[in-house]
Symmetry: C2
Subunit: 436 residues, 2 copies
C-alpha cells in the first residue's frame, strides 16, 4: 500500500462540481426509462448538429499535440474522424435500445402480514471515469451512465481537452433538451483534478479507468472507491494430450494473433508433454509465418524454440506478437501454473476429454474458463451484453465482461403498516416469508 | 489513507497455512451439495461429542480472562454455556438445510452455433474472518463458509484461544469424516497473524470482520482485500407531517429501544415542523419513561427537550438509550440531512402520504429504505435469508443484510468446438445470442 505519489485533496471548486453532479444524479436516478432513452437520442442529435464544432476542436487538439511531439500511437487515438464520430453517435442510439437495467425487481417477499420487502435495482450514483486520449470514450461512457440512471464525472487526457469539451457541450445540450439536469455529465480538465477524484469517496461511487495497465494499477492502488476494470490480462491456453490437433492449432493462433493488443489475447501457451512434440512441430512454423516470437521453457527449446523464457515471461502481458510456451507434465501442473500466473481474466483448455475439461474449468478461478474455443471471445459484445463497461478481473461481482448491469446496484424497500419488531418477541406477529 | 499502524507482512508459517487453506478451498469448491450438507452434519455431531472438552476449554479461558481483569462485557461474550453451544450446533444444522448457493445458472446462452456461454455461481475461495471474543461466531461462520464451498481462515480474540481451538478441532474432525480436507477451516492464534491476514490478498478473497466499529474501520482502512460488513450504523427515522401519530410513536420507540445496541436501531429522529409540537408532546414522556435520553436541535429544545445537540450528535452511533432529534422544515430537508449523515444502513419514513414515501425511498441512497415500519427489521433472518453473514453499507452489491449469496461469486464457462474469432470477421460465423 505504498503511495508512490501523493494524491491531492480535492479543492473547493472540484467539491462544488462534484456536489452538483451528485445532486443531478439523484434526479437522473428517478427518471423513467423513456426519459432516459429520449435523453440518449437528444444527446446523439446534438452531437450530429455540432459535428463541425467537434471536428474543428479535434483538429486544433491534434495540431497542438503534433507540435508538442506526442507519440504516433497517442496521435492516432486522439484523431476523431467524421466516421469515428458517427460511429460514436450510432453507439449512443444503440445503448438507448438496450433493456433498462434499473427498477428490476429481484426479490418480492411478504415478511409478515402487511410487511412487504422488495429488492430492486437502482443506479449506483456517480461514476468517475478516467481515460487517456480517445475522445470517443466520452460519448460511449456518458451514454452508458445516463442509460443506467447515473451521473458521471469524466476526466480525459489534457491533449484532447478541446475535443472533449465540444463533445460534452453537445451531450449536455441533449440532456437539457430532454429535461434532465445537464450537470449529470461533468468534464474535468486539469490533471490535478483527475488525481483528486480518487479522494472523492463521498461523491463518487465507482471509478472506471480506461487506459493503460499502468493507469489502472495506479488508480487501484490510490483510491478507496471501488474500481471497475483490470490492469493485466495474462491469459493462458492449455493444450491437453487429448486435444484435437487441428482445433489446438487454430484456436492457439486465433487467441494470439487475432488482435494481440487485446486483454483477452493469450500470453502463455501450456502444452502437455505427450502432445508437445507433434503440436510444436506444426505450431512453430505456423507462428513463425505469422511473425509471432516464441519464448519457451527448457523443454520447448529442446523441441525447437529459439528463445528461453525466464520467470518474468510467465508474468508479462506482452500485448504484442510474442508468446511464451511451457511444457507441463499433466493437467494439474497446467492448473497450478495458471493459478499462479493468471490475472484471472480468461484461460482456456483444448481437449476432447470432457472430464479433463470440467476439472480445468472448475479449478481455474478466472472470470472466464473456456473449452475448445478462442480466448478472444471474452468480451461483452460477444457475450451478448450489447455494451461493455469494462472487464473486471476481481473475484467478487461484477466479474468478467461487464455490461449495463455493472452500473446498477440494488436497494431493499420495506413497506409496512406500523409493524414493529417487539410484536414478534411475544408472538403477536409472526414471519411468513412468502415470496410474492 | 493514513496508516496509524503498520500491518506486518505475513511470515513463512502463515503463508504456508494460507496456502494449505487455499488448496483445500479448491477441493471444497468442487464438492457436491450433499457432501457439503453431510460435512455440516458431521461438524455438528463432533461438536456434540466434544461438548465436555469445549466447555472445559472455555472455563479455562474464562478463568484466565477473569484473572487478567478483562471487562464484564467481554467476559459475558466469552462465556460459552452448554445452551449457547447447543444453539450453535443447532445453527450449523440449520445452515445445512438452506438452499445451495453454488452452481446456480444465471445465464445460459448460445453465442453462435456450437458455442455456449454459461454463467454459474461459484464459491469465492478463501474467507478471512476476524472476530472479537464470542466463540459462537466460529461455529456459525465455519458452517456458512463450508455450506457455500469456501475455505476459511479464522482469527478470534486471544482470550478465547482455548475455546476456539477446541471448537475448530471438532469442526475439522467433522470435515475429515465427510471426506473434506480439514485444512478448509484454519484457526490463527496470534495477534500478529491476525493483522498479517490483511496483507494476504493473494490467498484471501473476502474479509469478514465481526466486532466493534473500531475493528471494522481499522480493517477497512488497512487492506486491499474486499471487506464485507459495516463500521457505523447511523439509522434515521423521519416523522412526516402526514404521519399517523400512533404509528409514528410506536415505530419510533421500537426502532430505538427494542435493542439499542444493534446496528439497525435509530440514532436520529427527524420530525416535520408541522407535526413536531403534537408528536413531541407525546414522544417526550414516552421516551422518558423508557429511560431514553433525548438530545435535540434548538427547535426541539424549545418544544421541551432538555439537552441541545452539537454537530457531533448527528454523526454519532450511540448504541445506547440516547436519541438525537432534529426538527426539519420539510421532506427535502429530511432527505438532505440523511444523505449527509446516514451511514447508508437503513433509514425510514412514517407517513400516510404515498408520494412522500416514494420520494423518500427513492432519494435516500441507503441499503434499506423503510416505510411505516421499524428499522429493526433490517436483518438477514427477518428478510428470510435463513442465515446472515453480515450487513454491508457499501453501495455496490452485496449490500444490506447478506445471506449465503454473499459468499459466492460467478464465473463464465464458455464451451465450443474449435470456434475462433477470426471466422466472425469475414462472415464465416455469426453471433446468434439465443438464450437457452
Amino acid at each position: 500500500m505504498a503511495n508512490t505519489f501523493e494524491v491531492p485533496q480535492p479543492g473547493n471548486e472540484l467539491l462544488k462540481k462534484a456536489d452538483q453532479v451528485r445532486f443531478a444524479s439523484i434526479k437522473v436516478s428517478q427518471t423513467e426509462n423513456h426519459i432516459r432513452i429520449k435523453a440518449l437520442n437528444f444527446m446523439a442529435d446534438y452531437l450530429e448538429k455540432n459535428t463541425k464544432e467537434i471536428l474543428d476542436a479535434n483538429n486544433e487538439d491534434y495540431k497542438n499535440a503534433e507540435r508538442k511531439g506526442i507519440s504516433n500511437a497517442l496521435l492516432f487515438r486522439l484523431k476523431l474522424s467524421k466516421e469515428k464520430l458517427n460511429l460514436g453517435i450510432e453507439g449512443i442510439r444503440k445503448v438507448g435500445e438496450l433493456a433498462d437495467p434499473v427498477n428490476q425487481i429481484q426479490i418480492k417477499r411478504e415478511l409478515s402480514k402487511g410487511l412487504v420487502l422488495e429488492r430492486k435495482t437502482v443506479p449506483i450514483g456517480v461514476l468517475g471515469v478516467i481515460f487517456e486520449s480517445r475522445p470517443d470514450a466520452v460519448m460511449q461512457i456518458s451514454a452508458l451512465a445516463i442509460r443506467s440512471g447515473n451521473g458521471v464525472i469524466l476526466k480525459g487526457g489534457s491533449e484532447a481537452n478541446l475535443t472533449n469539451t465540444a463533445i460534452v457541450n453537445a451531450l449536455q445540450e441533449g440532456l437539457f433538451e430532454s429535461g434532465i439536469d445537464k450537470n449529470a455529465i461533468c468534464l474535468l480538465k486539469s490533471r490535478k483534478d483527475s488525481m483528486s477524484m480518487l479522494n472523492l469517496e463521498n461523491y463518487i461511487n465507482l471509478i472506471i479507468p480506461r487506459g493503460s495497465n499502468e493507469l489502472v494499477k495506479f488508480i487501484q492502488e490510490n483510491t478507496r472507491i471501488p474500481v471497475l476494470g483490470h490492469a493485466d490480462g495474462i491469459c493462458h491456453l492449455f493444450i491437453d494430450n487429448e486435444a484435437n490437433l487441428e482445433v489446438a492449432l487454430s484456436v492457439a493462433l486465433d487467441s494470439k494473433i487475432q488482435y494481440p493488443a487485446a486483454c483477452n489475447a493469450i500470453e502463455t501457451l501450456l502444452v502437455h508433454k505427450e502432445i508437445a512434440p507433434v503440436f510444436l512441430e506444426k505450431a512453430i512454423p505456423l507462428f513463425n509465418s505469422n511473425k509471432v516470437k516464441l519464448i519457451g521453457d527448457k523443454r520447448s527449446v529442446e523441441l525447437g524454440l529459439k528463445y528461453e523464457a525466464t520467470l518474468e515471461d510467465w508474468q508479462t502481458e506482452y500485448l504484442d506478437l510474442i508468446l511464451s510456451i511451457k511444457i507441463v507434465d499433466d493437467l494439474d501442473e497446467a492448473i497450478t501454473h495458471i493459478r499462479k500466473f493468471s490475472s484471472k481474466h480468461t484461460d482456456g483448455i483444448i481437449t476432447e476429454n470432457l472430464s479433463a475439461a470440467n476439472k480445468f474449468m472448475n479449478e481455474v478461478d478466472s472470470a472466464g474458463v473456456f473449452h475448445n474455443c478462442s480466448t478472444r471471445f471474452a468480451d461483452g459484445f460477444r457475450y451478448g451484453f450489447g455494451a461493455e463497461v469494462g472487464i473486471s478481473t476481481q473475484t467478487l461481482p461484477p466479474r468478467g465482461p461487464v455490461g449495463l448491469e455493472g452500473l446498477v446496484t440494488y436497494k431493499y424497500f420495506l413497506k409496512g403498516n406500523g409493524n414493529i419488531v417487539k410484536d414478534f418477541s411475544y408472538g403477536k406477529a409472526i414471519y411468513t416469508h412468502k415470496d410474492l
